[in-house]
């Protein structure tokens, strides 16, 4: 499964303030762990929203607004693409992620990804089947190790 993992912005990241040497080093090491584990597919830091834009279509109305944007909590400061066997594995890796910024709590959003051409595909039944199988095989771990 592929996951897009997005680090939500904070006042720090939006102000363009770079984290300390220590935090940067921790993040570099975390990225190396992801690569060594065969999980990392891609990863990038993003510039503050001041370098970005919002384009919105609503009926006949089209608006283009240049950053920066006020709603920090809805903005993103960086992202990864990971290959994991399950959502829980992605969550576990996020748990191991070092703090990205000096101040404030950090929120990270995890979304499972479809390829664009699969929009509308009848995936839901197969995905449900996948879940069933995962549950079944986890029950096996318990079974096998019981003495």
């Amino acid at each position: 499964m592929r996951f897009c993992v997005m680090v939500r912005a904070t006042k720090d990241s939006e102000s363009g303030q770079m984290p300390s040497e220590k935090l940067l080093g921790d993040m570099v090491r975390f990225n190396e762990e992801l690569v060594k584990a065969g999980v990392m597919l891609a990863g990038e830091g993003l510039k503050p929203s001041s370098a970005g834009a919002r384009v919105k279509f609503s009926g006949d109305t089209r608006t283009v607004v240049d950053g920066p944007f006020a709603e920090t909590k809805e903005l993103i400061a960086g992202f990864w693409l990971w290959q994991c066997k399950s959502l829980e594995e992605a969550i576990e890796w996020v748990r191991r992620c070092p703090r990205p910024f000096e101040h404030g709590d950090c929120e990270i959003e995890i979304r499972q990804v479809f390829e664009a051409e699969d929009f509308g595909a009848e995936f839901t039944p197969e995905l449900r089947e996948q879940e069933e199988r995962q549950r079944a095989c986890l029950a096996d771990i318990g079974k096998q190790t019981a003495h």
């Binding site: 969550i91 748990r95 190790t145």
Partner: protein, 422 residues
């Protein structure tokens, strides 16, 4: 734990189990015992973590639990006498040979153990089937049931295969080490082969089959990437990763709506995964930069890269592909390689040239029932205007294929065959 506890523990296990087993194997010098101790640690985690939460350093927790259990077993004299004294020494707080301690201070001790485990699981004393099962079990962290479903065999078969494999390793007293010098190349080849066999098993899975089968491609890719991180200076490791990334990039385009296989040239290239193509091309570059352009996996990856770079089937550099297959035939000859070369030569230099190569394969016993040989010959014969022969070959291919939809398509081609327009 706010999400399902068992699913979370399974996720942690996937991340930690190979390293845990590897470190334990170095201590106890026995892969089978190492795995048993690791499983004991897992049981402890299943018992405790739902209440206490996942520890901050799950790997360290599991290792401590495993060592604890090892001490218990020692006390109950469960281990063989020679292991007993070795293990006792190792577990003795702080005791380590001076050289070991010095070696560990440098480099990546856990990575080294992981590499030792990979080579041990793929040891030539084991059958190919055993190497695959053991690799998926010890390095992939897959359950016996998952492995069984992935390979369409009963679970007890896999369970026995793994038990026997561990016993074989113990009886042969296979040392827990990374081979050195002249032996390394050959041993590495068996590791790469095992990973690629796992990938291929997943790649041939068709829609509607057990989800575990296509999952094998992801497993193999993961293992390949891990190995590339552990042996970054080995070109063929990068070559294998490149090959798998590039083949996997086509996974979404390979099957039609009715589950029928779609040949590469007929695939909708918009469905090819661009991220995997980028990664595959980058890995291929690494292999070449390390001087590995002529390795068997790197050559196959280079062929896959030719296809990946072509925006449409018509843009394909067939002359390059023909040259690469010719080189591949030189170092890793096989009837299938020769058949693929025939196709490439036919595309690059005309159907007569291609047919000459394909005709030479008709006598090849390995391809006697291979429907693609007939399909290829039929296509070339049609292009040469030899319609009756082409029709016969399409019908022959239709009779040989086991896929119903493919049979229909081949019979349709037989019916439509006509002299090509000039």
């Amino acid at each position: 734990m706010t999400t399902d506890a068992h699913r979370t523990i399974a996720a942690v296990w996937r991340i930690e189990s190979a390293k845990l087993i590897a470190s334990l194997a170095r201590l106890v010098r026995d892969v089978g015992i190492a795995e048993e101790l690791a499983q004991d640690a897992l049981v402890a985690a299943i018992e405790q973590w739902p209440r206490s939460g996942v520890p901050d350093n799950p790997g360290a927790w599991l290792m401590a639990a495993a060592k604890h259990r090892a001490i218990d077993r020692l006390r109950r004299d469960e281990l063989a006498e020679r292991k007993h004294s070795e293990l006792a020494r190792e577990l003795d707080a702080g005791h380590e040979s001076a050289t070991e301690a010095a070696a560990e201070a440098l480099g990546d001790p856990i990575g080294d153990d992981l590499l030792r485990l990979m080579f041990t699981a793929c040891h030539p004393v084991l059958s190919r089937e055993a190497r695959i099962a053991l690799t998926l079990r010890l390095l992939g962290g897959l359950t016996t049931d998952e492995i069984a479903r992935a390979f369409l065999v009963p679970e007890p078969t896999i369970a026995q295969r793994i038990v026997r494999a561990k016993r074989t390793l113990a009886d042969a007293e296979v040392p827990f080490e990374v081979p050195r010098g002249a032996a390394l190349a050959e041993r590495l080849a068996s590791v790469l082969e095992a990973i690629y066999l796992i990938f291929n098993e997943g790649y041939t899975a068709t829609a509607g089959e057990d989800w575990m089968r296509p999952q094998l491609c992801e497993e193999a890719l993961r293992l390949g990437r891990i190995l590339a991180g552990l042996m970054p200076a080995e070109p063929e490791v990068h070559g294998l990763v490149a090959l798998m990334e590039l083949q996997a990039s086509r996974a979404n385009a390979r099957l039609g709506p009715l589950g029928e296989p779609i040949l590469l040239l007929d695939q909708n290239r918009a469905r090819w995964d661009r991220l995997l193509i980028r990664r595959g091309l980058a890995a291929l570059e690494r292999a070449r930069a390390l001087g590995g352009a002529h390795g068997r996996y790197t050559l196959q990856a280079a062929i896959a890269a030719c296809h990946a770079r072509a925006a449409t089937a018509d843009d394909t550099d067939w002359a390059e592909i023909a040259a690469l297959y010719r080189e591949l035939a030189g170092i890793a000859p096989s009837p299938v390689v020769e058949l693929n070369r025939a196709v490439a030569v036919g595309m690059a230099f005309g159907p007569a040239a291609g047919l000459a190569l394909a005709d030479a394969l008709v006598a090849e016993p390995a391809l006697k029932s291979y429907h693609l040989l007939s399909t290829v010959r039929a296509d070339l014969l049609e292009k040469l205007g030899r319609i009756d022969e082409a029709r016969a070959e399409y019908e022959r291919a239709a009779a040989l294929t086991r896929n119903g939809r493919e049979r229909e398509l081949l019979l349709a081609r037989a019916a439509r065959a006509q002299t090509p327009a000039r």
